[in-house]
């Protein structure tokens, strides 16, 4: 039997964080499955999945991580999960769309878009937002597999665009792949 854990890490960014975390995992005999990290305004956040022998408990793993000698402070969450091969296959689903929304910055823009997605049963696979001067830009990768009529989504987006002053575009992921990648 093995234990599978998902580990979440938050820290001020500096060189050596991934070496710290993976070093701790390695010392406990862990096998790293997947890792994803992102940096925002000087802060690093990371999630990783690792598999350990059954004698490595969640609390043992957490205490080993917390024992890392680091000039910055770490926040960890460790959770038990099912075997990683139970995760959905990687690669975007067939009905993956890219939505971009740009407009003057004001409160509630991301909430407006994400609520609309929720109402139409659209799962947000990835979201990145940036603010330059007074312009707010959102780029969302969306799974529309559960959407029956894309025309309804477009109509709702148009309404939202009119209300919020955002310029919203929704296009299939394939379009971005073919214009930016060599293989077709």
């Amino acid at each position: 039997m093995s234990n599978h854990y998902i580990i979440s890490v938050l820290s001020e960014d500096r060189p050596g964080i991934i070496a710290d975390i993976t070093g701790a995992v390695y010392e406990l005999g862990g096998d790293l499955a997947e890792l994803n990290q992102s940096i925002l305004c000087g802060y690093l956040t990371m999630v990783l999945i690792a598999t350990f022998d059954d004698d490595v408990t969640a609390s043992l793993l957490l205490s080993r991580l917390e024992a890392i000698d680091s000039p910055t402070s770490y926040d960890f969450i460790v959770r038990d999960i099912a075997a990683p091969d139970g995760c959905p296959p990687s690669g975007p689903p067939d009905k993956t769309y890219v939505m971009t929304a740009q407009g003057r910055n004001k409160k509630g823009l991301v909430h407006g878009i994400s609520s609309l997605c929720y109402r139409h049963n659209i799962n947000i696979l990835d979201l990145a937002t940036t603010r330059t001067d007074d312009t707010y830009t959102m780029i969302l990768q969306l799974d529309l597999s559960k959407v029956v009529a894309i025309a309804d989504v477009r109509a709702a987006l148009q309404e939202l665009a009119a209300q919020s002053g955002l310029q919203v575009m929704l296009q299939h992921h394939d379009l971005f792949k073919v214009t930016n990648e060599i293989p077709l």
């Binding site: 769309y97 890219v98 971009t100 990835d126 990145a128 940036t130 830009t137 780029i139 894309i150 025309a151 477009r154 310029q167 575009m169 929704l170 296009q171 299939h172 394939d174 379009l175 971005f176 792949k177 073919v178 214009t179 930016n180 077709l184």
Partner: protein, 461 residues
């Protein structure tokens, strides 16, 4: 995972730069529709078009909605009608035009091309009847476009046909004088006409093609213009240190992206319809919309007036870069593939005509290095038939000698003189009427008839 800047670049192309798939054109073979009578043939043609293209427009719209990219025109090209209607007379061909118009309307396409003949070496009796029918056929039909191939690099120029066509172009314009001679905007004369060109008015479904084929026309002068502006702007706002090879590279990369969109749409539509995918025609085809002009690109690249010295060299570079970018992006490339300079359809070119910056002779020189020839050129209605024939002959000679496609779509606007405006609206655009110099001085040449022999294909030093 795609990067944010890549995503935003693609979105900009569609949202602000007029990126679209200009046309999806379904080529349909009609050779076996010939029946014992004109009426039966018309019925067979209409049934064939309905059967093959019944769900064509709907499918294009579906793919367009799914991907989020506009597909502007949905069109049909057919086997050159003179082959299908072999043996029919002038009235028979007019009936065929009416039937084709009806079929085009019933399946909802914008335009149907292929009301055509191929006479580069000689004319049959049918071909002569076909030519005679053109003024009437183009007046009584709305969506039908006609074209005729009268020259090729292999066979030379059929000057007998050419002499007839000078007269025909005038007659077509006169027969549609209530529309400013609009009929002539639906008729093109070709040298080396390709059988897989999806763009109108010269699209045909060549006899060398399979039963049904889907060809895609991508465009995007606006996308190229904006990308060049961005490139120039990125160098201190004035293109400091920028050199022409870098500019050519930018055009190449932009064309790659544009072509890819066409390829994607084409593959999806052909898969849904179960029709074989033909070619992507990667052309810079302007529209009268502001910001969708080839002339504007010439301005950006450094001539302050279209037609000024340097215009031909810039156009040569543009045309070549478009081909290089597009060829790598698509599995199969065909059709015309190059930069178009249709005067009436390009607001900046039309403006240059109005300012006397662009004359017919310079336009002709520019057609030596790009697609597709003297296209959508409005001339005074008073210009005689032989002069029109001679203008066309010059353009055919350029194509013949240079082994390229050239075409002439000349509109002698009835009752109007040089400098006056003519407007057809929509995609056909508007422009001032161009001056034709040396009118009436080519009749002896046209009077010879016969053929200009094919040029030598060796000893090219």
């Amino acid at each position: 995972m795609l990067r944010s800047d890549q995503i935003l670049a693609t979105v900009e192309m569609i949202q602000k730069e007029n990126l679209d798939v200009r046309t999806v054109t379904m080529g349909i073979n009609l050779l076996d529709c010939r029946a014992a009578t004109v009426r039966e043939t018309c019925r067979a043609i209409e049934e064939r078009i309905l059967e093959r293209a019944g769900s064509f427009v709907e499918t294009c719209n579906l793919v367009s909605r799914r991907l989020g990219i506009p597909v502007v025109n949905k069109r049909i090209s057919i086997t050159p009608i003179a082959f299908v209607g072999a043996g029919f007379d002038r009235d028979g061909f007019v009936e065929l035009a009416v039937a084709l118009d009806r079929a085009a309307t019933s399946v909802g396409v914008d335009i149907l091309g292929g009301f055509s003949a191929q006479v580069e070496k000689g004319m049959t009796k049918t071909d002569r009847e076909y030519i005679l029918c053109l003024p009437e056929a183009l007046a009584v039909s709305e969506k039908v476009c006609a074209s005729i191939n009268i020259a090729s690099s292999q066979k030379g120029i059929n000057m007998d046909a050419l002499a007839l066509l000078g007269r025909t172009v005038k007659d077509i314009a006169i027969r549609t004088s209530h529309q400013g001679g609009f009929g002539a905007a639906k008729f093109v004369v070709f040298c080396n006409q390709p059988g897989d060109n999806p763009f109108m008015a010269g699209a045909i479904h060549g006899v060398e093609e399979a039963d049904t084929v889907l060809n895609i026309g991508v465009s995007g002068p606006g996308v190229v213009a904006r990308s060049l502006e961005r490139l120039i702007d990125s160098r201190n706002g004035n293109g400091q240190g920028l050199r022409l090879d870098e500019i050519a590279e930018e055009i190449k990369q932009t064309t790659f992206r544009v072509t890819r969109c066409g390829e994607l749409v084409g593959r999806q539509v052909s898969e849904i319809l179960g029709v074989s995918f033909g070619v992507v025609d990667l052309s810079l085809a302007p529209t009268p919309t502001i910001g969708d002009s080839v002339g504007e690109i010439l301005h950006i690249l450094g001539v302050d007036a279209i037609g000024a010295p340097g215009s031909t060299a810039i156009l040569a570079m543009l045309n070549d870069a478009v081909k290089k970018g597009g060829l790598f992006a698509s599995k199969t490339v065909g059709g015309l593939s190059g930069a178009f300079i249709p005067v009436m359809e390009d607001a900046v070119l039309a403006e240059a005509v109005g300012r006397n910056e662009l004359c017919l002779e310079k336009l002709e020189a520019m057609t030596c290095v790009c697609s597709v020839g003297l296209d959508m050129v409005a001339i005074p209605g008073s210009v005689d038939a032989d002069t029109i024939a001679a203008i066309i002959a010059d353009e055919m000679a350029i194509g013949m000698v240079n082994n390229k496609t050239t075409a002439a779509r000349i509109i002698p606007v009835p009752g109007k003189e040089a400098g006056e405006m003519v407007s057809f609206g929509g995609l056909f655009g508007a422009s001032p009427i161009m001056t034709v110099r040396n009118v009436g001085k080519s009749s002896r040449f046209i009077g010879w008839g016969g053929r200009i022999p094919a040029p030598i294909h060796s000893f090219k030093n």
